[in-house]
């Protein structure tokens, strides 16, 4: 039982990281029909930003420095994402396959640029020692960092919810996910919403990257790509364009992966991809999503 609790919370923590990557992917796809293969590169950018900041700018290992580095990572991810949208995606308006291809190319370019700049070996990022503490729940011990992932993801989820529910841009995004053309036919420049979803998607991915350096104890050139596949799986299971669906799917994917992997190393990854195939075949639109075309 104790081990189950530990594994479960670890799984939810991993799911929280997946959520941070997947939330943006889901909104971007839902609104723009662009499957963004460069999203992993945004995450990696955030991770390297954290490494740089906590190694060269404020290497005191304090919680404050760590918190600042999270913010910076988010901003770096967001800037990268907005640049991607403005420089590449925008000019391929309505050419959805080409948009996806360009992001494939960008992911490729970014991964090799990281390799050229930072080398193959992961760079170690040490989080503040406090994060190594464990919390006792019943008889089980769980690392504090897990709760940090969950907390950050919960804040992002809440902020997303408030933004979508109570702001005009949120209204435009929700309407655009349903019927982009009709939004423009009401006199709204929907492309501003495109830039905006790239911004928030990039921000969440950058944050995810910063936290992933703690989860993986460092950052290498392909950190983002290893998360990207599971984030894709999360998005598709949750339903393209649905942030709540993404959150549920993220927890499902994270816990399944961790629990099964505990019993047979590697089998969890395998089971998760089969889970995706299963969900898509039974419910092609995912748990809560719009119909995938």
């Amino acid at each position: 039982m104790e081990i189950f609790i530990t594994l479960f919370i670890t799984g939810v923590g991993l799911g929280a990281l997946y959520f941070l990557v997947a939330a943006g992917l889901s909104l971007i796809y839902g609104l723009m029909d662009v499957l963004n293969f460069a999203h992993g590169a945004f995450l990696t950018a955030g991770a390297y930003a954290t490494w740089y900041f906590t190694t060269y700018v404020r290497a005191d290992g304090s919680l404050t420095s760590y918190a600042i580095s999270l913010l910076i990572a988010g901003l770096v991810g967001a800037l990268f994402a907005v640049a991607t949208e403005q420089i590449l995606i925008k000019y391929l308006y309505n050419r959805h396959i080409d948009q996806a291809l360009v992001t494939v190319g960008l992911g490729f370019v970014a991964a090799s640029a990281y390799l050229g700049w930072f080398g193959t070996d992961p760079l170690v990022v040490l989080p503040p020692v406090d994060l190594y503490n464990v919390v006792q729940i019943g008889d089980a011990f769980v690392g504090l960092d897990r709760f940090l992932y969950i907390g950050v993801a919960a804040i992002v989820l809440l902020a997303n919810f408030l933004m979508l529910r109570y702001t005009r841009i949120g209204l435009i995004i929700r309407a655009g996910v349903e019927n982009r053309n009709m939004v423009t036919a009401l006199g709204i420049d929907v492309r501003k919403a495109f830039t905006f979803v790239f911004f928030i998607g990039g921000f969440a991915a950058g944050l995810g990257g910063a936290l992933a350096t703690t989860y993986a104890s460092g950052v290498g050139p392909t950190l983002g790509d290893s998360f990207l596949i599971y984030a894709f799986i999360t998005v598709v299971i949750g339903g393209m364009g649905s942030v709540p669906g993404t959150a549920i799917a993220a927890v499902l994917v994270g816990t399944t992966q961790v629990l099964v992997n505990y019993y047979v190393q590697g089998l969890g990854d395998f089971v998760v991809v089969l889970l995706l195939a299963l969900v898509l075949l039974v419910r092609p639109q995912g748990l809560l999503g719009k119909v995938v075309r």
Binding site: R168, L171, I172, R174, A175, E178, N179, N181, M182, V183, T184, A185, L186, G187, I188, D189, V190
Partner: protein, 239 residues
């Protein structure tokens, strides 16, 4: 001198072509509509009426000249066309089914002071149901939302595509009343299959066939059964 000739048209299309995925749907559409009145755009199914409206809004790629009160709008993006004072009620309503009624209306706000009074006076039902998800409304109520979105702002031009399609007779009357109210302050281009309704509110009619305009005249023309049969494939002439 005839006043009609010199008067500026509210909307003027010259040689408008639309090609979608290889099919040449509009093949040189030409017509002008008078300001301040309702013009009916008629024709059989599939002749390109909806596509004509969508080309005016800019929802389909189009070639040719489209002038709104003398200003060329064919080079504008859809949202810019709408922002120059055009409101569009699409075929099949296209309301946002996951948003509430009020959210649908809010999204459509363009003016500083959107006219909620007019809208709620015409359709009290919408006020009652403002927090209901639009997807759960009946077809008639959804049409009210679609029309309300257009009436919320002051427009120079209202494009309305088959607003009574699939509605019960009682609702047809309600929609007609709403259009008449709207007609007091805006020019309307109305695509409509319901001929009695067209006769009631339209001053002019335009008939299309196979991607071009084949006739323009007055609704009186529809009294001629032979004309209606030939142009629209319906037995018109009755009230």
């Amino acid at each position: 001198m005839n006043l009609e000739v010199t008067q500026e048209k509210a909307l003027e299309l010259s040689d408008v072509h639309v090609t979608i995925r290889g099919s040449h749907i509009l093949q040189g559409v030409n017509f002008g509509i008078e300001p301040g009145v309702v013009t009916g755009l008629l024709g059989r199914n599939g002749v390109g009426k909806s596509t004509t409206l969508r080309s005016i809004v800019g929802l389909v790629p189009r070639v040719g000249s489209i002038k709104l009160f003398g200003k060329e709008i064919s080079n504008l993006k859809a949202h810019e066309v709408i922002r120059s004072g055009v409101s569009f009620v699409p075929e099949d309503r296209e309301i946002f089914s996951t948003l509430t009624v009020l959210e649908n209306l809010k999204l459509a706000e363009r003016d500083k002071q959107p006219n909620y009074d007019i809208v709620y006076n015409l359709f009290p039902e919408l006020l009652k149901r403002k927090n209901q998800r639009a997807g759960t409304l009946s077809g008639g109520q959804q049409q009210m939302v679609a029309i309300a979105r257009a009436l919320l702002n002051n427009s120079n031009l209202l494009l309305v595509d088959e607003p009574t399609k699939g509605l019960a007779p009682r609702l047809v009357t309600e929609v007609a009343d709403a259009l008449e109210v709207a007609a007091k302050s805006a020019t309307i281009l109305l695509v409509e299959q319901n001929l009695p309704l067209v006769k009631r509110i339209a001053k002019n009619i335009i008939v299309m066939d196979q991607g071009v305009v084949v006739h323009s005249g007055s609704p009186m023309d529809l009294e001629n059964a032979d004309f209606a049969q030939r142009m629209l494939g319906v037995s018109g002439g009755s009230h």
